[in-house]
């Protein structure tokens, strides 16, 4: 990392497409963050309860339930249309649906509130549990509110700050559940709603304000990122916007590198995945990959016997798995794990140029090989990774290595491309090694074997045909 946009060796400085350190486009202030996200928090915390109460008092239980559920659905839809994960709204919707089912089945306004208390307590435990497993949930919510760069989300500061915030929220939610449970024993809807609101909106607002203040302060005071926050305006002025020519160059580099991972327009490729872990016997899975233009890929599971009969179909970013036990193709997400460290998208999609916005952020040398360094950001949510940091050799534009990030900013795994071979006059990377970011002894080696470049019928890439190909 010797020549990474001139940054000091001691501190990583990933830059986003606007050239801002930390990927921060707006200036970071507590007031700005509160005004940006505060109303959303308040809406998710109090909205469904108030709507239910109004409906209950004005028209009756069923209307209250339907109105509160509709509020949850609309809020979730609103968030989705704004391309946010809508995690708060999604949780609100889940609670609202569970409450609706309970309320309608029992016909009791008191029972309507019971699932919310249980979910609240579970929610608190999940906050605390997320800290235990090292992936603080507050960080996920923070990422909804603010566009952190992947490297920031993978940093120790991020984990430390949001672990403390998560613990605070966990404790609050558990305490609130206990109080709401106590109120439920009164069996008086007015009391239940009053306790719900009193322990909800004010505390949520205060805790939200504290979380943001503490988060910003934590980053400002950190040695790791403090410099970036202080220098954000200067960095923006110095680097300016990415020029169109530079942006096109980045796209060309990624498209050229993609060619090393795709032998032709229509081909069949045998892939062996060896999953390794310290002190364990490696496991081997064999696949036969049928690929055609237009992002159409069919993956047949060839070995071991327990997997034989399964197949995976990718049409662009849509993915199905055929399971003999189910007897039909089942829709699955690209990000789901296939085997070892390999996600479905790792073998079903080889189109980084089509799936990601590329930004050329600097130069680097990998084992003495001069490389371009690119930040790839997912164009849509429907791809395997939210972001990739990609090293491509300057000579020949071959893929060299990559870091793959989740939407939360967590570094999931690293990848290394090698064993380049000439296949029918076409140079290809015939080995990809994926290593887990945390447990580095866990890795999966994808060896690309025999290739047959031939015209494949379109029907091979129809989900209704998957069983026939078994």
């Amino acid at each position: 990392m010797s020549n990474y946009m001139g940054g000091p060796e001691t501190a990583p400085r990933p830059l986003d497409e606007g050239g801002n350190a930390l990927g921060l486009r707006p200036r970071v202030t507590v007031a700005g963050l509160l005004l940006g996200s505060g109303p959303r928090f308040a809406r998710d915390a109090a909205g469904p309860v108030l709507v239910f109460y109004a409906g209950l008092k004005l028209f009756g239980l069923t209307t209250g339930i339907i109105a509160a559920t509709a509020f949850g659905v609309l809020t979730f839809g609103w968030e989705r249309r704004r391309a946010r994960a809508g995690l708060g709204a999604a949780i609100g919707l889940t609670i609202a649906l569970t409450q609706a089912a309970t309320g309608l089945a029992t016909g009791s306004a008191v029972a309507y509130f019971a699932p919310g208390i249980v979910v609240n307590a579970i929610y608190g435990l999940v906050f605390i549990g997320s800290v235990v497993i090292g992936r603080p949930l507050a960080g996920v919510f923070a990422s909804e509110t603010y566009p952190f760069a992947p490297a920031v989300k993978a940093s120790a500061t991020f984990r430390r700050v949001f672990s403390r915030v998560s613990l605070a929220w966990g404790a609050y939610l558990l305490a609130r559940s206990a109080l709401r449970l106590l109120a439920l024993t009164w069996r008086d809807v007015d009391v239940i709603v009053a306790v719900n609101i009193a322990t909800g909106v004010p505390f949520t607002a205060a805790l939200t304000a504290w979380s943001i203040w503490y988060g910003v302060r934590g980053f400002r005071r950190s040695e790791e990122w403090g410099w970036a926050l202080k220098g954000v305006v200067l960095m923006t002025l110095l680097l300016g916007a990415v020029s169109p020519a530079r942006a096109q160059q980045a796209v060309d580099i990624v498209a050229d590198a993609d060619r090393y991972r795709r032998p032709g327009d229509s081909f069949v490729w045998n892939i062996r995945i060896t999953s390794e872990e310290a002190k364990k016997t490696p496991s081997v899975d064999d696949f036969q990959v049928f690929a055609k233009t237009g992002g159409r890929v069919l993956v047949k599971f060839v070995a071991p016997p327990r997997s034989v009969g399964r197949s995976l179909l990718a049409l662009g970013r849509d993915l199905w798995i055929y399971l003999p036990d189910a007897g039909k193709p089942v829709r699955i997400p690209l990000s789901q794990r296939l085997v070892g460290q390999v996600a479905n998208g790792d073998i079903a999609r080889a189109d980084y140029a089509g799936d990601y916005e590329a930004t050329l952020v600097g130069d680097d040398a990998v084992d003495g090989l001069a490389c371009h360094v690119l930040d790839l950001k997912a164009k849509t949510r429907d791809v395997t990774y939210s972001a990739i940091k990609y090293w491509v050799s300057k000579d020949g534009r071959r893929p060299v290595q990559a870091e793959f990030y989740a939407g939360t900013g967590t570094l999931l795994k690293t990848g290394r491309f090698d064993k380049f071979k000439d296949v029918g006059g076409h140079p290809l990377a015939t080995r990809l090694t994926l290593t887990d970011a945390i447990r580095t002894d866990r890795r999966s080696v994808l060896d690309y074997g025999e290739i047959s470049v031939r015209a494949l019928p379109d029907k091979y890439f129809d989900k209704n045909y998957m069983k026939t190909l078994d």
Binding site: R135, G309, R331, G407
Partner: protein
């Protein structure tokens, strides 16, 4: 005799598999053979706690690729359940029905020409998007002798049918099915482990229950339907129409006078004709996958215990629908949450049938699965609760992949709830299971 046949079949499985490994002649090279053997053990937890299954199963399936356009497939399954020899808990009719089984699971000729694919023979035809439910999975009858606990590919009873699909355009498929095979659902006999609760009739007159023995094949009563599937911008939508006889018998009543004695009530199982209109939807909204299904059954009938009803049966057109979401937590735990409802069009007073708890019967299902140690240890959980009367099923299982070919599974199936509910009727059938599977 059937036991001998089952043993012979299993022997044949092993012999055929062994033959595959040696040098094969040219004409046999397009033949692909695979199979599996399993030993399933179940122990009933409630009094009287005892072994409830000790089943040895074998599957063998082969595919012969004649050319790129023509393939032949055949699959057989056989089992022997030693529990009927090891215990004397089950009556003779159950033993006869469930002790051994040899069945042809597939016998299929597939012919492909450009955008047309035709499959003729014994097969499973599976429609629908959702997992662990039958809302639009309507073509094949089901084998409920072990309730809904086996894999769905085991629950479906294959039928002889003609199935053709034609690709109208990119992402647009039309499929037609026709079958003279009018087999019905296989229900457990009286006294079986998972025998369904009987309808609580209160007759003052003597009653006679006629057998459900109509012919399995009939061109006159043949069934069929069409499905139109469209995939556009990731939205996977299909529309379904299917015409079939109700796979579950409905007990029609009639009075037969037998002077000088009292009238006799004759319970006559019939399979009224159903017209099913349905739709399915699947869409990936990364990282969430959304599925939905709906099926409206016109002509659905239910038994009523209303003593004044002339034939003891009422028609209630029925809407079954579900919506579900799949999400993977922490990039590790795959979960699926599904809400489903059965809505009867009309009053449900006096209708007594498991799975119908009101005019609207709601159930929620949660499925979670994950993997440890590079997915060699795979726990999974299925929790289905009937919201109306709080009956539920909780099935937990841990699969351990000993090798690429051998899997050990330990599991438990717990049922709770009031009697006369879908899961509550089995609340004394809680069990633990242990299964070993070898695939080749």
């Amino acid at each position: 005799m059937r036991r001998v046949l089952a043993a012979a079949m299993l022997l044949a499985l092993a012999t055929s598999a062994g033959a595959q490994e040696s040098e094969v002649p040219q004409w046999l090279q397009p033949l692909r053979v695979r199979g599996r053997l399993a030993e399933e053990f179940a122990y009933r937890l409630h009094d009287p706690g005892d072994v409830s299954k000790l089943k040895t199963l074998g599957w063998l399936d082969g595919k012969y690729t004649v050319s790129d356009a023509v393939t032949l497939r055949a699959a057989v399954r056989g089992w022997y359940d030693a529990v009927f020899d090891a215990t004397d808990r089950y009556p003779a009719n159950v033993e006869e029905d469930q002790k051994t089984d040899v069945s042809l699971r597939e016998a299929l000729l597939s012919v492909s020409h450009r955008d047309l694919d035709v499959r003729l023979g014994r097969q499973q035809i599976v429609w629908g998007e959702a997992i662990s439910t039958f809302v639009t999975d309507i073509v094949n009858p089901k084998d409920f002798r072990e309730f809904v606990l086996p894999d769905f590919s085991e629950l479906r009873i294959p039928i002889w049918a003609l199935n053709a699909t034609y690709r109208l355009a990119e992402g647009v498929i039309v499929e037609g099915v026709w079958t003279p095979d009018t087999r019905t659902n296989k229900l457990p006999k009286q006294g079986a482990e998972f025998q369904f609760a009987r309808i609580p009739y209160r007759f003052h007159n003597p009653a006679v229950h006629l057998p459900d023995d109509q012919d399995e094949f009939s061109v006159a009563r043949s069934e069929g339907g069409v499905r139109l599937s469209v995939l556009r911008r990731g939205w996977d939508i299909s529309l379904i129409y299917y015409d079939q006889a109700d796979k579950t018998p409905v007990l029609f009543q009639r009075r037969v006078s037998q002077p000088p004695g009292p009238d006799v009530i004759v319970l006559d199982p019939q399979h009224p004709r159903l017209h099913i209109i349905g739709a399915t939807l699947g869409k990936s909204l990364e990282p969430v996958v959304v599925r939905a299904e709906a099926a409206y059954s016109i002509g659905k009938h239910y038994e009523t215990v209303d003593p004044l009803d002339p034939d003891g049966v009422v028609r209630r057109d029925t809407l079954d629908w579900l919506v579900g979401v799949d999400y993977t937590f922490f990039e590790k735990v795959d979960t699926a949450l599904q809400l489903s409802q059965r809505v009867l069009m009309g009053s449900v007073t006096n209708i007594v049938r498991p799975g119908v708890d009101g005019q609207v019967t709601t159930s929620v299902a949660l499925r979670a699965a994950t993997g440890f140690f590079d997915n060699t240890l795979n726990p999974s959980l299925l929790f289905v609760v009937g919201v109306n009367r709080a009956d539920y099923r909780l099935s937990a299982r841990i699969d351990y992949l000993v090798s690429g070919a051998v899997t050990l599974s330990v599991g438990a199936d717990i049922f709770e709830g009031p009697h006369q509910t879908l899961y509550g009727e089995f609340d004394r059938n809680d069990r633990v299971t242990f299964t070993t599977t070898w695939r080749f």
